[in-house]
């Protein structure tokens, strides 16, 4: 299942870091961050609860970029 979320991030490299962090989060099969569109597209693993996974994704992203936002 694929979903995309609006994000807020200031720099292109921070967006890359967020992408890497999201990819490593359990329940996420793949994730891409478009700095241009300020969007994060997350491909969830089967049976994962998007809401719960996104909480973890946000937590992981906050670690690399404390003032990032993900709207979910």
């Amino acid at each position: 299942m694929k979903k995309s979320y609006k994000i807020e991030v200031d720099c292109a490299n921070c967006a890359n870091l967020m992408e890497q962090a999201a990819k490593k989060t359990p329940g996420v099969k793949d994730a891409t961050v478009s700095f241009m569109a300020l969007k994060m597209t997350v491909d969830f693993e089967d049976g994962a609860d998007p809401k719960a996974v996104m909480q973890d994704v946000l937590k992981a992203c906050r670690k690399v970029e404390p003032d990032c936002e993900i709207n979910f």
Binding site: D10, N13, N16, E19, T32, S34, M36, T41, K63, P66
Partner: protein
């Protein structure tokens, strides 16, 4: 400026004011120290916080860490000196934040301008109910609904015009500024702007499947395909920062120790200061920020011209293209075929066309479309049975109980029908009825007007070899190739042969002789598009398979755009290399000067912010293709 940036600006202003006060007011040392501390923490607390978080989360070496260590180090040195002059630490932090703010504004601005270019998402669709127009979410419109598009509105969903005539502005999709006229029966694609008349449109797709959604998806996901340069930078940053930190440590410790051993005063303070300067200079911001930004601007600039590039890796490959292979139909020629005659037929011309048009009624190939056009009516599908399309040969079907075979020489050979070859240039469809030869239909395709110029333009941007692939007969292929001035041609190819040909050409290029681009119109050539180093689909509006398979999508079918796309990619890559070499050169020069004690921390921060500003400005040039 957004809220965050404004807040940053206030912090910078307050901190600068405090810094000035600390220097100007005749205060005792302890009061000045308080002012300096206030200035420092006002502007730098988030850097310290991020650095601490970084250490806690195991990501030690980043620019926050560098800045924190450098400024805290400068403070420590000032304390050790005991003169209460903390100007250096505060100023370095201040300039760093000014640089960050500037970059954030510049990036935000460029992102908005690109986003505005791609702002083709329709917000609503008008549905008529009880004689009144109701605005609904385009997502909720079912296929086959009738929507109304008023002048000035964007067509939200692909469909066919039922009523009304108007001109459509397709600039956002194709970069083509001349409006397109539409009348009842014409297909319209979503994303165009209706200029004058009211249109009633019957939708043919869901919103999610419509052109506008496909394009948005493609553009928004383009940055997930990273180029080698970008990967290089992220790998580089990972190695670079730790390396710099170790060098700085060595610079702080080794020279004093050597001096001690040699019996000179150790001079720890001076070397620690030089090491800190070294840290400030080494901040890799200019690279890490400007490279993704350049690609992002390049892709944005290209999409403004109706050239969609699916990722920065493709932008990079595109810039190295030396060989361009064309699939003839729809790229070199218009792909609009016209029946120019029926030869050697015992039956009437109309009858032969009628049978052929019915046999081909299920095919989307341009040839069968032109047959149907010439037939003048919609073929009655209930009269047709057992349609079998034999790829690269033709079609067999049963029409009104008559076994019809329509196709090329190979089909006739396969069916064992004696046929009369045609000597005119064009595509020949032999028709056999119940196994008896019934003559052939000659269909010719016209070359695009600007194809000669387009090939010239390709040569100007450094393409050394152009190749045409076609399923046409040798004589027809040769005539076209000679007329348009293409270097080589390969004729009588089945779709499968095209893949093999492209693979053979790829093999010739394997040892670093540049990359191969394949240009197709997206019909029947998806396998070749994905096999080539870079697949370019042109006139791809409405062809989902092509948008899916291609790496570069040209929104209209103007062949000049191929050279344009290569030119844009070259410019973008040139900017990337300029930024990489410029930033590294300045950095290494400053590192050397810093290590030798010729450049202080002030010079260092100016070099860092200056290089970053120049690199960001340079990156923005890629937007103006």
């Amino acid at each position: 400026m957004n809220k965050k940036q404004k807040k940053m600006l206030y912090r910078i202003l307050v901190s600068a004011a405090l810094l000035v006060l600390a220097n100007v007011l005749p205060l005792p040392v302890w009061a000045k120290t308080i002012l300096f501390a206030a200035a420092y923490f006002t502007v730098g607390w988030d850097i310290l916080h991020k650095a601490a978080m970084g250490i806690k989360n195991g990501r030690v070496f980043d620019e926050n860490f560098l800045m924190a260590v450098a400024t805290l180090g400068a403070i420590a040195l000032a304390v050790a000196d005991g003169n209460g002059d903390f100007n250096e630490a505060v100023a370095v932090m201040l300039f760093y934040q000014i640089g960050e703010l500037f970059q954030s504004i510049a990036v935000g601005k460029s992102r908005r301008s690109i986003a505005a270019l791609m702002d083709i998402r329709p917000d609503y669709a008008n549905i008529e109910s009880n004689g009144r127009l109701e605005q609904v979410d385009p997502d909720e419109v079912a296929v086959g609904s009738v929507i109304v598009v008023q002048p000035g509105e964007r067509v939200p969903i692909d469909g066919v015009v039922l009523e009304g005539t108007s001109s459509l502005n397709t600039a956002a999709l194709t970069g083509e500024s001349a409006p397109r006229d539409v009348a009842p029966g014409d297909e319209v694609i979503s994303g165009c702007i209706n200029l004058n008349g009211v249109l009633r449109i019957k939708t043919e797709k869901e919103f999610g499947e419509s052109t506008v959604s496909k394009i948005l998806e493609l553009v928004e996901n383009s940055s997930s395909n990273k180029s080698r340069s970008e990967n290089f930078i992220s790998k580089f940053a990972r190695v670079y920062t730790p390396a710099v930190c170790c060098s700085a440590l060595a610079l702080a410790l080794l020279p004093p120790l050597v001096r001690l051993v040699m019996g000179m005063p150790a001079d720890f303070g001076t070397w620690a200061y030089r090491a800190l300067t070294f840290l400030v200079i080494s901040c890799p911001c200019a690279l890490v920020i400007s490279i993704p930004l350049s690609f992002f601007a390049g892709i944005g600039g290209a999409s403004r011209e109706g050239i969609l590039i699916k990722g920065s890796n493709y932008l990079e490959t595109l810039s190295q293209v030396k060989t361009v292979v064309f699939d003839k139909t729809g790229t070199i020629t218009k792909g609009v075929f016209e029946v120019s005659g029926v030869h050697h037929s015992a039956r009437s011309e109309e009858e032969v066309i009628e049978y052929a048009a019915h046999a081909e009624c299920a095919s989307s190939h341009p040839i069968s479309q032109s047959l149907r056009r010439h037939y003048g009516r919609e073929p009655d599908r209930s009269r047709v049975q057992d349609i079998e399309e034999i790829s690269g040969h033709g079609v067999t079907a049963t029409v009104d109980g008559v076994k019809v075979a329509a196709g090329n020489d190979k089909l006739m050979q396969k069916l064992g029908v004696a046929y009369i070859p045609c000597h005119s240039a064009g595509t020949v469809i032999h028709v056999a009825l119940d196994g008896d030869y019934a003559g052939h239909i000659l269909i010719s395709d016209l070359e695009k007007e600007d194809i000669v110029d387009a090939l010239k333009a390709l040569r100007e941007v450094g393409v050394t070899r152009t190749v045409m692939l076609t399923g046409d007969a040798e004589s027809a292929a040769r005539q076209v190739a000679e007329r348009v001035g293409i270097d080589e041609y390969h004729s009588e190819l089945l779709p499968g042969d095209k893949v093999e040909k492209v693979e053979a050409l790829l093999k010739e290029l394997s040892d670093g002789k540049g990359k191969l681009a394949f240009v197709g119109d997206g019909i029947n050539d998806a396998p070749v598009l994905s096999r080539a180093d870079i697949g370019i689909a042109m006139g791809a509006l409405g062809s989902d398979a092509a948008i899916e398979a291609a790496d570069v999508v040209l929104m209209d079918d103007d062949p000049m755009k191929i050279a344009r796309a290569i030119k844009i990619s070259r410019k973008c890559l040139r900017i990337v290399y300029e930024n990489i070499s410029f930033a590294l050169l300045v950095k290494f020069a400053c590192l050397l000067l810093g290590a030798l004690g010729l450049a202080g921390m002030w010079a260092a921060i100016f070099a860092d912010v200056g290089v970053m500003v120049l690199a960001v400005l340079n990156a923005m040039r890629a937007l103006k293709a």
